[in-house]
Amino acid sequence: MSLLEIKNLHVTVDGNEILKGIDLTVNAGEVHSIMGPNGSGKSTLAQVLARRDAYHVTEGSILFEGKDLLEMKPEEAACEGMFLAFQYPVEIPGIGNTYFLRSALNAQRKYRGEEEMDAMDFLPMFREKLKLLEMDDKLMNRSLNEGFSGGEKKRNEILQMAVLEPKLAILDETDSGLDIDALRIVAQGVNSLRSPERAMLVVTHYQRLLNYIVPDFVHVLVDGRIVRSGGKELALELEERGYSWTEHEPVGARA
């Protein structure tokens, strides 16, 4: 059974059709990259997978480990192992980062019928993950994302992913707004989380990130459709030639 199976997915937002028939299969252990120009529907796909309700699925199906994802609430999808690293992480005043993350982890553990983690067990694990992302633990005493720089916010997303250990992690433009050092640290964090049990969907419109997080498959999304799929070399070709050619040249052998 595939981890994620998207079939003929059509999605509208405010009456406009954004996704026009997406087919995509992701197996455990794979890293897929979704590339495409602005407005092609990349973020919409990410949001739909995270079950945001402003997006209306008009046709098609999504199975997550064989279960109907479209029947799940956002928190259920999360507890089933779906993680979205947000393009714009929100700030929430008054909620400590550490407290929030432990609450989230325990909500997920409870859902899966596992025992909740107390502070004694949580903190050592948490400190390990902080080190991995080279994050200052002073940040963790602050409110959730409040006063964080753009780079700190993105690193915090990956930190959350490291703690929550999802089955499918969607990285929505995680590279945007990162300088080269931050990009390296984020990529390092992501790579350390690659495993045969976990899949990743890396949404980006620059090839740059893919130098650090090397995908197994690259899909090009243009105007709500996947117009081309290939291996990692497809990303390089895109970098060189831009996106426009993908719409005009015939689709070659699909991955």
């Binding site: 995270a50 945001r52 402003a54 609430k73 956002p74 928190e75 999808a77 999360a78 507890c79 993680f83 979205l84 947000f86 992480p89 929100v90 929430i92 005043p93 008054g94 909620i95 407290y99 929030f100 993350l101 432990r102 609450s103 989230a104 982890l105 325990n106 909500a107 997920q108 859902y111 909740e116 983690m117 107390d118 409110s143 959730l144 959350q160 929550l164």
Partner: protein, 485 residues
């Protein structure tokens, strides 16, 4: 903290669980109000002459106000006219004799407190908290008296104070809130049945937090508490007040008065978690909470802090205030007020700066959900002699849903040019983005909402004693139940 969230969760699944009625024999007088009723109340309480005179004065003032239709109408709340002659002004559990220990308390009453979660038996008490429990109108039990007496602290029911410490009562009663202050304060002065009295002598730091739980039990019984706290020179006391009331269909009037007096270098912290019955989802029933609370920083370097978490009542009309009379005195007001369903709250504070270099801080957090209407009304007055006075006001509103309202009425009056005033205000909505973010990490909607709300209130919660802060979080979660669909 995850266990807190669990508790929050359990609580959220419940209806107003304190909606039960204790079946005990009551001693009550006929409905209505007149001089004869005042005399009867005073006689029942075997009060000295000065108290009767004081009550009668207040009654006459109130009656003249009632005749002149002078019930305050400026608050941003609406309710049908109150029939003051339809209320019973005195109701007490029948007691045969004075009680010496808890064993003698009516077991039915003890069970009521157990349901409320007030562990009355000393061994069950929260460490270091003495409880003076008010059941309807009469205090039935006071604990930890011995330890307090050792420190010289007087903590007893108001009735007892009138009998045992008449000089103190006479000196300070009405010195902060005179009966002419307002309509409800006058009514309270005339008919108040009981309440708490605290006196902390010179240089004494009260060895524990003092706590009172109020409870309205008898149907259609107006409850008129009166609390008086005096901190003598260099004294310190922290007082906690918590309220719950059972479910009722008819509205019940609650018009309390609290007076605080701080002498030179004294400090009083007064914390309230108020959870009177708010009415049902359609706005039926609920308590009218018309309360006058005021502290006077009479001495130099004195300090009075009000911290309140208001989640209950159909209507809240309440402005805990400070009169900063002594030089260098400090007044603080930290408030969380939540309105859900059809609740209305018009609450805030008054800071009256009289002395030199007086300082005041106001932090108000209003949360509106459902059809709730939440009004902040605050006055900061810098009088002529208050050279070097400073005020900082922060007033934030959080809206949940699109049928509720938040309103802010700040009044600022400055008569001394050296004053420094700061006012910050912000209104925000619980954003769909924030909710989705938390849900995407695995938190249920209700938990996500209470997490955001608790974050919003953090500045105020941290002013509360620990146990109270936890209770306040639980109450917010319960009160917000069903506000986000």
């Amino acid at each position: 903290m995850s266990t807190d969230m669990n508790v929050v969760h359990e609580m959220a699944a419940k209806d107003y669980e304190w909606g039960f009625v204790t079946d005990i024999e009551e001693d009550r007088i006929p409905r209505g109000l007149g001089e004869d009723v005042i005399r009867l109340i005073s006689a029942k309480k075997q009060e000295p002459e000065f108290m009767l005179e004081w009550r009668l004065n207040a009654y006459r003032y109130w009656a003249s106000q009632a005749k002149a239709d002078a019930e305050p109408k400026w608050a941003n709340v609406t309710f049908p006219p109150i029939d003051y002659q339809g209320i019973t002004y005195y109701s007490a559990p029948k007691q045969k004799k004075t009680l010496n220990s808890l064993d003698e308390v009516d077991p039915e009453i003890l069970r009521t407190y157990e349901k409320l979660g007030i562990p009355l038996a000393e061994q069950k008490l929260l460490a270091n908290v003495a409880v003076d429990a008010v059941f309807d109108s009469v205090s039935v039990a006071t604990t930890f008296k011995a330890k307090l007496a050792e420190a010289g602290v007087i903590f007893c029911s108001f009735s007892e104070a009138v009998q045992k410490h008449p000089d103190l009562v006479r000196k300070y009663l009405g010195s902060v809130v005179p009966h002419t202050d307002n309509f409800y304060a006058a009514l309270n002065a005339a008919v108040f049945s009981d309440g708490s009295f605290v006196y902390v002598p010179k240089g004494v730091r009260c060895p524990m937090e003092l706590s009172t739980y109020f409870r309205i039990n008898a149907a259609e019984t107006g409850q008129f508490e009166r609390t008086l706290i005096v901190a003598d020179e260099g004294a310190y006391v922290s007082y906690l007040e918590g309220c719950t009331a059972p479910m009722r269909d008819e509205n019940q009037l609650h018009a309390a008065v609290v007076e605080l007096v701080a002498l030179d270098n004294a400090q009083i912290r007064y914390s309230t978690v108020q959870n009177w019955y708010p009415g049902d989802k359609n706005g039926k029933g609920g308590i009218y909470n018309f309360v006058t609370k005021r502290g006077k920083c009479l001495g130099r370097n004195s300090k009075i802090s009000w911290t309140q978490v208001e989640t209950g009542s159909a209507i809240t009309w309440k402005y805990p205030s400070c009169i900063l009379q002594g030089d260098n005195s400090v007044g603080e007001f930290y408030s969380v007020a939540l309105t859900n369903n059809y609740q209305q709250a018009d609450t805030g504070t008054k800071m009256i700066h009289l002395g030199k270099n007086t300082k005041s801080t106001i932090v108000s957090k209003g949360i509106s959900a459902g059809h709730g209407q939440n009004t902040y009304r605050g006055m900061v007055k810098i009088m002529k002699g208050a050279t070097g006075a400073r005020n900082y006001t922060q007033c934030d509103s959080l809206l949940i849903g699109d049928k509720c309202g938040a309103h802010t009425f700040p009044y600022i009056e400055v008569k001394n040019a050296s004053a420094r005033m700061e006012h910050e205000a912000a209104t925000s909505k619980i954003g769909e983005d924030q909710l989705f973010y938390l849900q995407q990490r695995g938190l249920k909607t209700e938990d996500a909402v209470s997490m955001i709300v608790n974050g919003f209130c953090k500045q105020v919660f941290k002013e509360l004693p620990m146990e109270f802060a936890v209770e306040a979080q639980k109450l917010l979660a319960v009160s917000l139940e069903g506000s986000v669909g």
